[in-house]
């Protein structure tokens, strides 16, 4: 590759843990890859599979969802529901020609700034290795709807 592929990744971060972890990483001035663009939701349970497909559809090479550790959900069990949905969706992704590795769910608590940095860097590298998501692979609006 002559020019290094710079993936664009959408991050759906839970307002109570992963989003705060990102804030903490900031206040601690940790440095990490700028590829993940964060969309804040109140709970990882709010992340709708269609939103994820929509992201792939509109040019995301990867999607990272950050929720609270099991048992720590601010809304009791939203993260478990996220887990179930994501697991299901991952099994469907190949049908759209999308490698399941492009979708990841991570538990990152508000105090785990370092972990956030590492996950973002590591995931960015993984997506970089996978290369850009072939546009024709992306689900059409119809599929997403």
């Amino acid at each position: 590759m002559n020019k290094r592929f710079d993936p664009s990744i959408v991050g759906f971060f839970c307002n109570w843990c992963t989003y705060l972890a990102a804030d903490l990483a900031g206040t601690s001035r940790m440095k990490y890859a700028p590829n993940v663009r964060v969309v804040r939701t109140m709970c990882s349970g709010r992340v709708d599979p269609q939103m994820i497909l929509w992201a792939f559809r509109h040019g995301a090479d990867g999607v990272l969802i950050g929720g609270c550790h099991p048992g720590d959900c601010h809304y009791q069990e939203g993260n478990y529901k996220a887990l179930r949905r994501i697991t299901l969706l991952r099994t469907m992704l190949p049908q759209f020609g999308i490698e399941p590795e492009r979708l990841r769910l991570e538990w990152i608590s508000a105090s785990e700034g370092e972990r956030l940095r590492d996950v973002v860097n590591e995931f960015t590298e993984q997506i970089r290795r996978l290369g850009p998501l072939r546009k024709e692979a992306a689900p059409t609006a119809a599929m997403a709807a």
């Binding site: 700028p34 969309v39 109140m42 709010r46 709708d48 939103m51 720590d72 809304y75 709807a145």
Partner: protein
């Protein structure tokens, strides 16, 4: 309606949005990395943007003025500010928006400081990311709807968990202000660690003398319900009305009947105390029926079923019962009971535990009898302690030389990373007291002496004058093998005298381990019960290290004392006062405004599939049998949005996080 449109922007922005965009330099915090100029120019070209400005400090008054004037001057109907984390200034800008005459929820915030300028170095790529986030916000904000904040009433009663100096001070502060306080303590008495201390640094006033009066005030106060020997088992609800279950462990004594005369203790079939007593950390002995210490509050005895003959064999003469006579306070049948209370606010003041010195075997704790922890020494030199203040070692000797080892279980990647903050000062205090009590030669082994407090450095200076030795070096080991005659029969401390530049062996009679502070072993359970966050160290996490040091991320729950991090008594008391003030601010206002991010269900779209009903953790959704649709009770909804994500027909929607808002945002970060 969801995704027919390829581009929500066109769908939304039929010229109706007039967006004002503002990027904050935050001094150089943002401008140093992100090209704010370029960002403003970029935003100006985005559809719907009428005004696009960059300003040094948007959160400053002039910054906010700017927004208000533009709303009026340019008939803006949407506001986007790119600055710091919404957790910091979202409120500020919503207020500004409202002052400008717009509904505050027409505002949206972009985090380009914590999430961009502070974490990226490459100016170009950072700016590129900032642009994407800004574009997303601008697309999103067009879909914003005017909203009203929900108000929840605040129940005037308060729960305080933990009866150490923090809990005691917070309880008295609020009780004196006329609030009703439930003070719940796990041990049989309140007082916490402070009750165990001999003197307090740097003033050396006696801990008991300043604490016990406050303890009895708690006991006597009409506005305080004191439940010792009790634990919180369950918490539900949210700010304003928490429902709390408290487990009251049986002490086999009817608290209200016991007068604390201790006749039963004297009468116990065990003529002398023979079981290690918890309050004196096993240095003293107690009977199966006992009070923790003379000023225990409440002054009510309790029975330890583990050691009481009646419980073990059922065949005791029960001389205690005889002694108690017609008061009949003793009840071997007493069962654990559960109380249910409602409170509007909660203060956690659960304190700390000291580092377990056994975790560093090289220091010989539990191996050599004359190695003590600092807390044990507090009891040993305490006039009301097991030796009545006489410093006699476990082997009966009196120490002529003492070595105090600092940073035991602190500043160490292998145990606890943090500085425990109080050890330097309490080590100095113990050095002074031990010298005073025994006239011994005292050696301090330290890495750095940290005395950042009022009168602390002066106290250090006093110790230097008193001729206490200070050897700068972390101790490697405490052993009992002698190299020289004068080391025979002594404990030998091996450390580098880093200021001299060579290693020294110092023989001593008594080793004091200045153990660090750490979160309680069960802090994790408490955290989950109350649904708050722990930092990785096992201390509870404050909402903001500087601007919200006693708040948690859960509204209505506050922190006081060492459960939030190591701190000394003055800081603990100050923090307890702050937490009390926070509670009272809520109580006196009587209500709290909460984010209007609740969900609702559009009847006409609902297919009545029941999916959302199963999803809701708060049973806020029920099924209307007539209309055959799901109905959401807004009062119960906490706004997680799980039902929205699950709804197959798009009937469930969430304020501030509507599908079109999020889809627009997602598309925005990507386009």
């Amino acid at each position: 309606m969801r995704l027919e449109s390829e581009n929500p922007l066109t769908l939304s922005n039929n010229g109706s949005s007039r967006i004002g965009f503002y990027v904050c330099h935050c001094g150089t915090n943002i401008a140093g990395v992100v090209d704010v100029q370029a960002l403003a120019e970029y935003a100006a070209k985005l559809p719907g943007v009428v005004v696009s400005r960059e300003y040094k400090y948007m959160c400053s008054d002039p910054g906010q003025e700017l927004i208000q004037q533009d709303i009026k001057g340019n008939r803006l109907n949407r506001i986007v500010v790119a600055s710091c984390s919404p957790h910091l200034h979202e409120q500020t800008f919503r207020t500004a928006t409202a002052k400008g005459g717009l509904n505050p929820f027409y505002f949206h915030m972009v985090n380009i400081r914590e999430h961009v300028s502070w974490v990226h170095e490459d100016r170009t790529r950072a700016t590129q990311k900032a642009k994407a986030l800004v574009r997303a916000a601008i697309q999103r904000v067009s879909f914003h709807k005017p909203l009203e904040r929900k108000r929840v009433p605040i129940h005037p009663d308060v729960l305080i968990l933990g009866g150490g100096i923090a809990g005691i001070h917070a309880a008295l502060t609020m009780a004196d202000a006329g609030k009703h306080v439930y003070l719940v303590e796990r041990d049989p008495t309140i007082g916490g660690h402070m009750a165990k201390f001999d003197k307090t640094f740097p003033t050396l006033d006696c801990a008991a003398c300043i604490l016990t009066p406050k303890m009895s005030m708690v006991r006597a106060h009409p506005n305080i319900t004191l439940w010792t020997y009790s634990e919180v088992t369950h918490v539900e609800g949210y700010v304003g009305n928490f429902k709390v279950k408290v487990k009251r462990k049986p002490r086999y004594i009817h608290e209200e009947l016991c007068t604390g005369c201790l006749a039963c203790v004297d009468a116990c079939v065990y003529k002398d105390a023979r079981y290690p007593d918890e309050f004196n950390l096993g240095l003293g002995k107690r009977k199966p029926i006992y009070i923790p210490f003379a000023q225990a509050t409440p002054l009510v005895v309790l029975i330890d079923p583990e050691t009481c003959i009646q419980f073990k064999s059922g065949k005791c003469k029960k001389t205690c019962v005889e002694a108690c006579a017609e008061r009949r306070a003793i009840d071997f049948e007493q069962r654990e009971e559960t109380k249910e209370i409602e409170v509007g606010t909660i203060i956690l003041s659960t304190g700390f535990q000291v580092f377990d010195a056994k975790r560093i075997p090289n220091y010989g704790y539990g191996i050599y009898p004359n190695v003590y922890t600092a807390l044990e020494i507090e009891r040993l030199i305490n006039a009301s302690g097991p030796t009545a203040g006489e410093v006699v070692l476990r082997d009966g000797r009196k120490p002529q030389t003492v070595g105090i080892i600092h940073c035991v279980g602190s500043r160490d990647e292998n145990t606890n990373r943090w500085c425990s903050r109080v050890c330097c000062m309490y080590s100095l205090k113990l050095a002074h007291l031990l010298k005073e009590h025994t006239g011994a030669e005292v050696y301090n082994f330290y890495i750095d002496i940290r005395t950042p407090g009022k009168g602390f450095e002066e106290f250090y200076d006093r110790l230097l004058k008193e001729g206490v030795h200070f050897i700068r070096g972390r101790v490697a080991e405490v052993t009992d093998w002698a190299m020289t005659p004068d080391e025979e029969g002594k404990l030998v401390i091996r450390a580098e005298d880093t200021l001299a530049g060579f290693v020294r062996r110092v023989p001593v009679d008594l080793v004091v381990l200045s153990v660090g502070l750490e979160g309680h072993a069960d802090a994790e359970d408490v955290r989950r019960t109350f649904n708050i966050t722990c930092s990785t160290e096992g201390f509870f996490l404050e909402r903001h290290p500087k601007l919200a040091p006693v708040d948690t991320f859960t509204d209505g729950i506050f922190l006081a004392g060492c459960c939030q991090g190591p701190k000394d008594i003055p800081d603990t008391v100050a923090q307890a006062g702050a937490a009390a003030a926070q509670c009272m601010a809520l109580i006196d206002r009587g209500y709290m405004e909460i984010e209007p991010n609740t969900a609702w269900i559009e009847e006409e779209l609902c297919s009545g599939c029941h999916v959302c009903i199963a999803m809701c953790p708060y049973t806020a959704i029920h099924f209307d049998a007539q209309k055959k649709v799901a109905v959401l009770n807004e009062a119960l909804c906490k706004g997680c949005g799980t039902c929205v994500a699950a709804c197959p027909s798009g009937a469930a929607q969430q304020n501030l996080f509507r599908d079109e808002q999020l889809f627009a945002e997602v598309e925005g970060v990507l386009v």
